[in-house]
């Protein structure tokens, strides 16, 4: 399978999958349980979900390892099983997608705050990410996706940890921004300009943003990234901001709407488009259909 980087380098747009957590809840994941514990107890569930996204047209399918760094798993008393939890997750997605899609190894924040603001030493956090990366990459992930980061120092540690394990694996790294009166910032105060510079320096191959925002804000975020970086860009929007309707949570952006928006993201120059919270295989399918139909390959089309 040709590497992700050479494909996006040619100007191809790759479609990534959508949310996993909500689908797991629908399959009976207990409230308060670590979603990653299912990697050992019910890998068939993850295989099934990966299969749904593959079938919907995703070319990049994520592992259920967002919270599977040892530091994070410690909260559930599962740190000792980190390696097995990460390996099992990669194997489950691989069984589902074979070589028809890239297995993307998800890595979310540690849940700790680095000194001097918090109590965690950088060395300890790096070691935790490194343990996770060894398992993910060792089990055969095609690409690493470090995501939902708000602290640039933590994001850099994760990128460096992945790079320390493999000099060649493509590394994608995304952060979550909030719109303020003074522009976009993460909750830790990181600007898009700073994210571009520091993620690049740390060794990320693809950078961008996920979570926290619906499609319209994400288009604005993508434009801002384009101002400061020439690296391929990854954007995974939420299906809007959740609303409550008679006690039930509802994500307002429909598959059709997000498909339209994916076209706009393509016009802005986003290389990898996917979904975050609230998106489903139906969203992926609609995006696939629209991009296939409306988006011409770069040499045959001049985006507005």
């Amino acid at each position: 399978m040709e590497a992700v980087i050479s494909r996006v380098g040619r100007g191809e747009i790759l479609l990534a999958d959508g949310a996993i957590g909500s689908l797991l809840m629908g399959r009976g994941l207990a409230r308060g349980a670590a979603p990653e514990s299912l990697n050992l107890s019910h890998p068939e569930m993850l295989e099934e979900i990966a299969g749904l996204y593959l079938e919907a047209g995703a070319e990049i399918v994520q592992t259920n390892t967002f919270g599977a760094s040892p530091l994070k798993l410690e909260n559930y008393g599962l740190a000792g099983q980190a390696a097995a939890i990460n390996e099992s997750a990669v194997q489950a997605v691989r069984r589902a997608v074979g070589e028809r899609a890239y297995v993307s190894a998800s890595c979310g924040p540690s849940g700790r705050i680095l000194r001097p603001y918090g109590d965690t030493e950088a060395e300890k956090m790096f070691a935790s990410f490194q343990t996770q990366m060894q398992a993910l990459i060792g089990a055969g992930a095609d690409v690493v996706c470090i995501e939902t980061m708000s602290d640039i120092s933590e994001a850099r540690l994760a990128v460096r940890a992945a790079r320390s394990v493999s000099p060649s694996i493509p590394i994608m790294a995304t952060m979550t921004f909030e719109a303020t009166a003074r522009g976009f910032f993460t909750i830790m105060g990181v600007t898009i300009e700073k994210a571009c510079r520091e993620l690049h320096e740390a060794g990320a191959d693809v950078i961008g943003s996920n979570c926290g925002n619906g499609s319209l804000q994400m288009i604005a975020i993508a434009r801002e990234f384009k101002k400061f970086s020439a690296l391929p860009l990854l954007i995974q929007a939420n299906a809007g901001v959740p609303e409550l309707r008679s006690g039930q949570v509802h994500y307002p952006e429909t598959p059709e709407y997000m498909a339209e928006m994916s076209l706009e993201l393509a016009r802005v120059g986003v290389a990898v488009i996917g979904g975050c919270c609230g998106t489903t295989p139906e969203h992926t399918r609609a995006m696939r259909r629209t991009l296939d139909k409306e988006w011409k390959k770069p040499n045959g089309h001049s985006p507005a």
Partner: protein, 213 residues
């Protein structure tokens, strides 16, 4: 008083090493501990909270300011206790489910301590029965709950229902917050208050605790 202003500014700058000698100095100058707390530390923390709310500063600044506040509190605490300055009461807080999602809850905890409450933080992933049992055991006036996941919000209702069942509804008040939560939801489940942000949460707790007194 100039020194109280300096304490507040030092706290806003997150200078925990600087706050301690200033607090000592203020006490030596004859200012009573309660005034140093209210007009120095808490005044500074309120400014920090407001600047955070309008995105003028971010989480690292708040965390450093909190450290500075604790440094100042360490000096004041024995004096406040011996002066018989009572706390505003106890508050039990927790997230109904874990994640990065405890950032908001932690901030509210810091601000509540700054406002003079005794805070019992149950952390993440707290069951309804634990909230209620802890509040009963420690004679808390308010239970503050945070949820970021829509799937975990029903725990808030369980707490409210459990308090009602045990006839504690008037004695222990409830306040809720978190991204998917709203004033409407608070009304729907019968919670006593809703905090849109940290400042509102603290204001809400103050009001509820006063009502219980």
């Amino acid at each position: 008083m100039e020194i109280l202003k300096q304490i507040a500014q030092c706290l806003e700058a997150g200078d925990d090493a600087g706050v301690t000698p200033l607090v000592r100095q203020a006490l030596e100058d004859g200012i009573i501990a309660k005034t140093v707390l209210d007009e120095g530390l808490i005044a500074g923390m309120n400014t920090v909270g407001e600047k955070f709310r309008v995105h003028e500063i971010f989480l690292p600044d708040v965390l450093l300011a909190a450290k500075a506040m604790y440094a100042g509190m360490d000096v004041l605490k024995p004096l406040l206790i011996s002066a018989g300055v009572s706390s505003r009461g106890r508050v039990v807080i927790g997230s109904v489910q874990g994640d990065l999602h405890d950032i908001g809850k932690n901030l509210v905890g810091i601000m509540l301590k700054g406002a003079g409450f005794e805070v019992i933080d149950l952390g993440n992933d707290v069951a309804a029965s634990t909230f209620v049992a802890t509040a009963k055991k420690h004679d808390a006036r308010v239970i503050g709950m945070s949820a970021l996941l829509t799937t975990t919000m029903p725990v808030m209702k369980e707490v409210v229902d459990l308090l009602k069942k045990e006839n504690l509804g008037g004695r222990i008040k409830t306040i809720i917050g978190g991204a998917p939560v709203s004033q409407n939801y608070a009304g729907e489940i019968g919670a006593d208050a809703y905090g849109y942000d940290c400042a509102q949460a603290v204001a809400g707790v103050k009001k509820l605790a006063a009502a219980v007194q």
